[in-house]
């Protein structure tokens, strides 16, 4: 990739960094804090993301589409729903780690509503987070939130599935097929 292409691909990012530099010139304290946090974010991302993409590549190559369709595809029913919740809750890491995983799930034929259930579970049911929440805010608080979230996630997934529209759904699957 040549330099021009690189600049084109990262133009939004470069724009923000330019903005940060301008801030640093006028307000060195604030600017340096921004760079410190940004660097920290990159460090965190780069420490979590590599194994996820490595596993995704392996999953893509080794797990046949038929297997995923059987467990998570159309007609997977209650089993597919439970499995989607478990997969999301078992995850560690920020929500942006869920997006590429969802993309591979889509590519392999996972039902749309199950993908949304997985995404929502990842965002809010994470077991590691739950343990931490329990120790900080108490068992009652954490457990209530966790239990209320399960029907909530199912409702949200159902509503999105009904409202999203067939074209949007088809476009989503088409994009994931093209991406990997």
């Amino acid at each position: 990739m040549n330099l021009l292409n690189l600049i084109k691909t990262y133009h939004y990012f470069l724009l923000i960094i330019f903005f940060d530099v301008v801030i640093t010139v006028f307000y060195p304290g604030t600017g340096l804090a921004i760079f410190k946090y940004t660097a920290g974010n990159f460090a965190e991302m780069l420490s979590i993301i590599p194994p996820i993409f490595l596993l995704l590549g392996l999953l893509d190559v080794w797990v046949p589409r038929e297997t995923i369709i059987r467990y998570l595809g159309e007609g997977s029913g209650l089993e597919g729903i439970v499995l989607s919740i478990v997969l999301g809750a078992a995850a560690a890491g920020p929500l942006y780690g869920a997006f590429p995983v969802a993309a591979v799930m889509a590519k392999k034929g996972t039902k749309y509503s199950n993908i949304i259930i997985f995404l929502c579970s990842w965002s809010t049911l994470k077991i590691p987070m739950f343990l931490f929440e329990m120790s900080a805010l108490g068992i009652k608080f954490a457990l209530t939130r966790w239990l209320v979230n399960i029907p909530g996630i199912l409702a949200i997934a159902y509503i999105i599935d009904r409202l999203i529209g067939e074209e949007n759904k088809a476009e989503f699957y088409r994009r994931q097929m093209a991406n990997l």
């Binding site: 939004y12 194994p51 490595l54 596993l55 995704l56 392996l58 190559v61």
Partner: protein
């Protein structure tokens, strides 16, 4: 800890795969790398934005915002802060706890924690890149409304 587990899983997967089929393993690595570089430009934007956010919305600022408020305006304020910030759980939970100890309402803290986890304004561009605009708007707004329901129920259960 969990990251370590993830690494162990990925590395053992890689080794097993390599032992079984070198060609397929090569393909898996290429696919993983391609998926990563495909999304990196958007990732970089989000991480840079979070850097700016974190600088201006420190735990101190948040405490000033939601600690003094009460009732529905307090919930609204904490839900907005929760929606736009991306504070890791190990900072957010103790923060909520310390605010509770200083007199913040349980529902304000519940809506804060819930929106923090479920609603992502800063990550919306990235979500949109994968899922499309409509899904992103639907999921985030439904999660936002749902966070208030969660907060009210937690208020009833824990507050009672």
């Amino acid at each position: 800890m969990f990251t370590l587990l993830l690494y162990l899983l990925a590395l053992s997967g890689l080794l097993i795969s390599f032992g079984k089929d070198r060609h397929k393993t090569r393909l898996a690595l290429i696919k993983g790398w391609k998926a990563f570089t495909n999304i990196l430009p958007d990732f970089a934007v989000v991480l840079a934005l979070i850097g700016i956010m974190l600088t201006h919305l420190s735990p101190h600022t948040i405490a000033a915002l939601v600690g003094k408020n009460s009732g529905f305006p307090g919930m609204l304020a904490s839900s907005i802060v929760g929606s736009i910030t991306l504070i890791p759980g190990f900072v957010a939970f103790p923060l909520a706890k310390s605010l509770l100890d200083r007199g913040a309402g349980i529902m304000q803290m519940a809506v804060f924690v819930s929106t923090l986890m479920m609603v992502g304004v800063v990550t919306a561009p990235l979500e949109s890149r994968y899922f499309g605009k409509k899904e992103t708007i639907l999921r985030n707004s439904l999660s936002y409304v749902f966070s208030f329901i969660v907060a009210i129920i937690i208020g009833m259960v824990v507050g009672a």
